[in-house]
Symmetry: none
Subunit: 205 residues, 4 copies
DNA sequence: AATGAATGAGCATTCATTCAT
DNA sequence: TATGAATGAATGCTCATTCAT
């Protein structure tokens, strides 16, 4: 009742460390073998903890997958919005989104694999995926397109939602191809290629 | 002692029929429950055959998935090439590809689900996917873009491979969104939206 | 569709044989190690079948326990009623019930262990137990006591339900003691001892 | 460097308190969920201590069950002997035993559940059970019956051990029925019913 | 003494695949 | 060819117990 309180900062760090270790290990293992082919024991051993320990930090194997997605999306969108706030021109905004998208996933191939491949492996997850973070992401793009239309720099005869999907689809395909490619090349520069075509397509004449 | 030999034509038809039944049943089942959650027994019973019979036509559960992909891609590409041969202008060719792509998948939602979701669930499959049919598909698009560039109707400062990926990525995203959407809408008309932007982006000024 | 129908009698026998093997093995194993300490694999190997085969005949480990109880009780009560129908005097009926009770369990020590020990290990099961077969059993005894009271051979100042419980409790204790005893002795003769006291206690003066 | 030594009396009290808390919590939890379905963590939290603390007072989960039995039996037999010493007539002694038996368990339903149900769940425990406290209990009854026979108030043609088992079995059945009954009724009065029959059965004519 | 995070052995159940008929 | 009973390897998760603090 009256014990000297634990150093909560240290304690929290320890907890976070172990959760992070498991989180990171899961990304590794899922990327390497696929979600369904990964055993919880694999993750545990990759994280350097006992099997049971995984369950002190995550309720189930599936929850780990969700956590990977949630954390990444959170950071993704947070950083994105922060950066976009400082940019004026809609075209520049879109370019920055494209750059960030490819930069981020290009910097963490394993996370990219999980995002492009493992998260797609079930309609159930895909639905949740689109309901949450993904919808928010698409919305940011859509809003930016609308901005450009109001401002007069983008054509008014295209539907912003569709444009947003095309934009996202193009970026998504870049990442998927990059992951599956046997050759190794930097992902980020592809942003320019995408912008060249996309902006050309939506720019007002 | 010896049986009357079967009419081989009829026999072949019977064989094809049963294989088709299993094939079709697998698409249904995979679409409904996902590849990993589908049991071979589910497929067998949906096809109206015994569990063991599945193995007379397919070597394994995985082979069924491959077969689904291979058959669809074969038909896809065959029909596509046939149609494109009769079209002159590269821009019209691309438009036709887009239409066919969305038409086909839009007409068979179950197949579309398997294509968009289940076939993505493993890096292994994804790799084979890109090595085989998919590469061929992308190549057709790339070639058409190059044609347009030579002919002068498409900008020369864009890389055909990249343009092809963007084109494919845009279409792919349309399909994925259509599948996951709670609302029901026709998929094919999205081809026009995609073309509006894509052509605008690659057209020579 | 038009195959020669299986010899259903033989087929049924085969099915019954395997189910019986598992049933019997389960009694053995439960008696030896206790329900909670028995692994399904133990039962399977004792029955000479693969682990998975157990699940072709029983839905779960728990269902096996229920089955053991249900089958035994069914036989028990069926045989009991048949015999009692041919006996006139209530006192003789009770004596016969006691004899049958101890005879049966005395002839199958393993089944007795499961009945006396394993079936008691959970309030859940106990409740179901008392709701079904057991209640029927107790009722037969109660009715016989009532008969004796009407007829005038049993005291009227005792409650039939209570007498039935005492009767059952006494027999039950005989079996439990027999099971746990290190010495080996025949169980059936204990019926006479019980009757001597019980009949003395309920006989009209 | 050295701590002020604890007041040993107080310390012992504290120790006893915590052990009691765990003991009591275990009875609660076992009664509610059954021995095998109870987690040590459940007991710990019901007792308001940490999981590990349980192991400072008990060597294992099983030992807790033993302790519950041993303590109860100790008290049971101690009190019983004390009371019986002041009673003359064997018949009155038996009546008092019956009363005490039902009184005690009737006053603590949770303990009764553990006694009637949980303690029966393993042959291993049952054997130890009969070897220890239970044998002593049965012996007291047996001795009393012998007394009555010598004295002439009980029939000489019955075996005291058997009579003791019947007596115990009857009481035991009363308790079990009471526990499982959906209706709530006082247990102690059943002692009279049992005595009416049992004494009638063993009384010398 | 007390804590509670960490451990890792243990197990019921599922299901792709085989094979005797 | 076709069947479907039988197989047995494979795995997510639980929980009694330990031990560093």
């Amino acid at each position: 009742m009256s014990r000297i309180p634990k150093n909560t900062a240290a304690a929290r760090t320890a907890v976070t460390d172990k959760r992070n270790a498991i989180h990171r290990a899961a990304v590794e293992v899922f990327a390497a073998k696929g979600y369904f082919n990964s055993k919880v024991a694999d993750i545990a051993s990759a994280a350097g903890v006992a099997d049971g320990t995984v369950y002190l930090y995550f309720k189930s194997k599936e929850e780990i997958l969700h956590y990977i997605f949630d954390r990444a999306m959170e950071e993704f969108i947070g950083d994105g919005l922060r950066e976009l706030a400082e940019i004026e021109a809609p075209a520049d905004k879109l370019r920055r989104v494209a750059e960030l998208h490819l930069e981020r996933l290009g910097a963490d191939r394993e996370l990219a694999v999980v995002f492009q491949v493992e998260l797609r492996g079930s309609t159930k997850f895909m639905s949740e995926f689109s309901r949450t973070g993904f919808a928010k992401y698409l919305d940011i793009i859509k809003k930016t397109v609308e901005e450009g239309q109001k401002e007069g720099s983008f054509r008014k005869d295209i539907k912003p939602v569709v444009a947003a999907k095309i934009f996202y689809g193009a970026l998504d395909e870049m990442v998927t191809n990059w992951i599956l490619s046997k050759r190794s090349y930097p992902l980020r520069p592809m942003a320019d290629e995408v912008m060249k075509i996309f902006l050309g397509g939506i720019a007002a004449k």
